[in-house]
């Protein structure tokens, strides 16, 4: 698989989806942590 091939592009798109899920989970985690800190600290 050469660096410029379509397979390489598909591979990179697949990695991008994993990156997106990771970042989305981080964002959701921050939201939940803040709300929970408010609830538990109350």
């Amino acid at each position: 698989m050469s660096l410029n091939s379509r397979e390489d592009l598909a591979n990179r798109r697949s990695r991008a989806v994993k990156t997106a899920w990771l970042l989305g989970l981080i964002a959701a985690g921050i939201f939940v942590a803040f709300v929970l800190s408010g609830v538990l600290g109350h």
Binding site: L3, N4, A20, L23, F34, V35
Partner: protein, 543 residues
């Protein structure tokens, strides 16, 4: 020395895809094309810019003379609140996402954003969010009137429409987070082979860092407004002192979001200016690597300065000192940037086309905003400045001849690339000079008003403030009207201009986007382009 479009042999079989869908809905509602979505963001933000600007005109008309002139005080408060919410979340932020959509894939040699369908969704959430936000103005209880900071207890005293405001903020946040995820996933995974991180254009770097800021702080805002919602409608007392809650805690949480938010609006501006100045100075950017590290430093520091917005709440002296010194530290990487822009221009073969004029205007006027920020950082004197027009003058210098000028600079810079036509240089320059003169007439007198003690967010004021307010309002009306020139230049460029743009457009332009035709093909870089000295924008030679 224009550079022709880069095509490789295995791209030819894609030619039948190289056109936009013919139907209006297919083209704009269901689009997954980064260029189309970028256009949607930019048109939307321009619309919001005028809606938010109209509210600013109402504010300045009311403040033209002392006494209540045109609107009820509660409506005035709704205008200040909505003006800010719309300008921050509806105009400046979506405009930068529009630039990111258009430019990042072309600058890093990617065929599109990494997640095109999510990209579509990110945009199309926004019109619903802002329709919902604006609809509150027509509800019985009116729009939000507690300022864009939504401080309790005042914000909790609003009516039923507050739920719409909170939901709108949630939707804006979701849109921003999805847009940021897309930017990060694209930059980290979709760069053309050979486009290492330290070869990326500065605009891409600043957006990468901005996207991390967004993901870190937008959920914090979402959490804060969710707690406001439950305080208002479900009987909780997170921020309600009567129920054992702490209103000051909201201020801490809000500004933990709010201060990075300022940098979310200004870091991409730094990126655009860092692209434009080398082009028109015909020199490589001075200190590319230092610029990258300075951007990262500013982003880091933006997380540890939030309480400088609330020096007057009565925090411990050690807290005030920490936040004061941390805030002043930001002047160091910002100073590095200003120094590098000036050094890039030093002994350059400069010409002063409209993008360069706006970029230089940005450097000078943003620095004024930065310096008044340093004054506000001094905790002892902030007790005098807090909640006065000095603060209004400060952040408007940062955001209008700062962020908005950079948006205009970027628009003039890339408009020929986007449309394939040259805009009218004469009218572009008229737009620059009228805007620059009027924006200073508008905001500079507000420094004096603030130092003399005029509080912000009031519809009436003591007669001693009358003259400067009248001058400020006249500047505001001229500035508002001059933006019609901007629209005229864009419309003329898109529909009427007969002067075709070359691929390179500007003699000194370097970088991958300038290797594509003007306008670029609907699908560009289906095969990654070669990365070499002629296609890298301005990395240090060591990299």
């Amino acid at each position: 020395m224009s550079i022709e479009t880069t095509h490789s042999h295995d791209e030819s079989h894609d030619d039948h895809h190289d056109h936009a869908p013919s139907g209006f809905l297919d083209r704009w509602l269901f689009t997954t094309n980064h260029k189309d979505i970028g256009t949607l963001y930019l048109v939307f933000s321009l619309l919001m810019f005028f809606i938010g600007g109209s509210m600013a005109m109402i504010i300045r008309a009311e403040l033209f003379m002392p006494g209540l002139q045109l609107v009820e005080p509660d409506f005035f408060n709704q205008m200040t609140t909505m003006h800010a919410l719309i300008m921050v979340f509806g105009a400046v932020m979506p405009a930068w996402v529009g630039f990111a959509n258009w430019m990042i894939p072309m600058m890093i040699g990617a065929p599109d954003m990494a997640l095109p369908r999510m990209n579509n969704w990110s945009f199309w959430i926004l019109p619903f969010a802002f329709t919902m936000l604006l609809s509150t103005l027509f509800m019985d209880s009116g729009g939000p009137a507690a300022g864009w900071t939504l401080y309790p207890p005042l914000s909790l005293q609003g009516g039923q429409s507050f739920a719409f405001v909170v939901f709108a903020v949630h939707m804006m946040g979701i849109s921003s987070i999805m847009g940021s995820i897309n930017v990060i996933a694209t930059i980290l995974n979709m760069r053309a082979p050979g486009m290492t991180l330290l070869k990326m254009p500065l605009f891409v770097w600043t957006w990468l860092i901005t996207a991390f800021l967004l993901i870190a702080v937008m959920p914090v805002l979402a959490g804060a407004v969710t707690m406001l919602l439950t305080d208002h409608f479900f009987g909780t007392s997170f921020f309600n002192a009567a129920g054992g809650g702490d209103p000051v805690m909201f201020q801490h949480i809000f500004w933990f979001f709010g201060h990075p938010e300022v940098y979310i609006m200004i870091l991409p501006a730094f990126g655009v200016v860092s692209e434009i100045i080398p082009t028109f100075a015909r020199k490589p950017l001075f200190g590319y690597t230092a610029m990258v590290y300075a951007t990262a430093s500013i982003a880091f520091l933006s997380f540890i300065v939030w309480a400088h917005h609330m020096f007057t709440v009565g925090m411990p002296l050690t807290g005030e000192l920490f936040f004061m010194y941390a805030t002043m530290l930001i002047a160091v990487p910002t100073g590095v940037k200003v120094f590098n822009w000036v050094s890039t221009m030093w002994r350059g073969s400069m010409t002063f086309e409209t993008p360069m004029l706006f970029a230089i205007g940005f450097v000078v006027l943003f620095t004024i905003g930065g310096l008044s920020g340093l004054m506000l950082a001094i905790a002892a004197v902030d007790l005098q400045y807090h909640d006065t027009y000095f603060v209004v003058a400060h952040f408007h210098y940062v955001l209008v001849p700062g962020a908005v000028f950079a948006l205009m600079a970027g628009t003039y810079y890339w408009l020929p690339k986007w449309t394939g036509h040259m805009y009218s240089e004469k009218w572009g320059k008229i737009h620059f000079w009228v805007s620059t003169i009027s924006v200073n007439i508008l905001f500079f007198p507000q420094h004096y008003l603030g130092l003399a003690g005029m509080p912000r967010r009031i519809p009436d004021y003591s007669t001693q403030f009358a003259d400067f307010n009248m001058i400020s309002s006249i500047g505001g009306f001229i500035f508002g009207a001059s933006q019609l020139i901007f629209v005229g230049v864009i419309v003329h460029c898109v529909y009427k201009s007969r002067k075709a743009a070359t691929a390179q457009v500007w003699e000194g332009a370097r970088g991958l986007e300038w290797t594509l035709s003007s306008p670029p093909p609907y699908h560009s870089f289906n095969t990654p382009p070669p990365i070499n000295a002629s296609t890298v924008a301005h990395a240090d030679e060591a990299h």
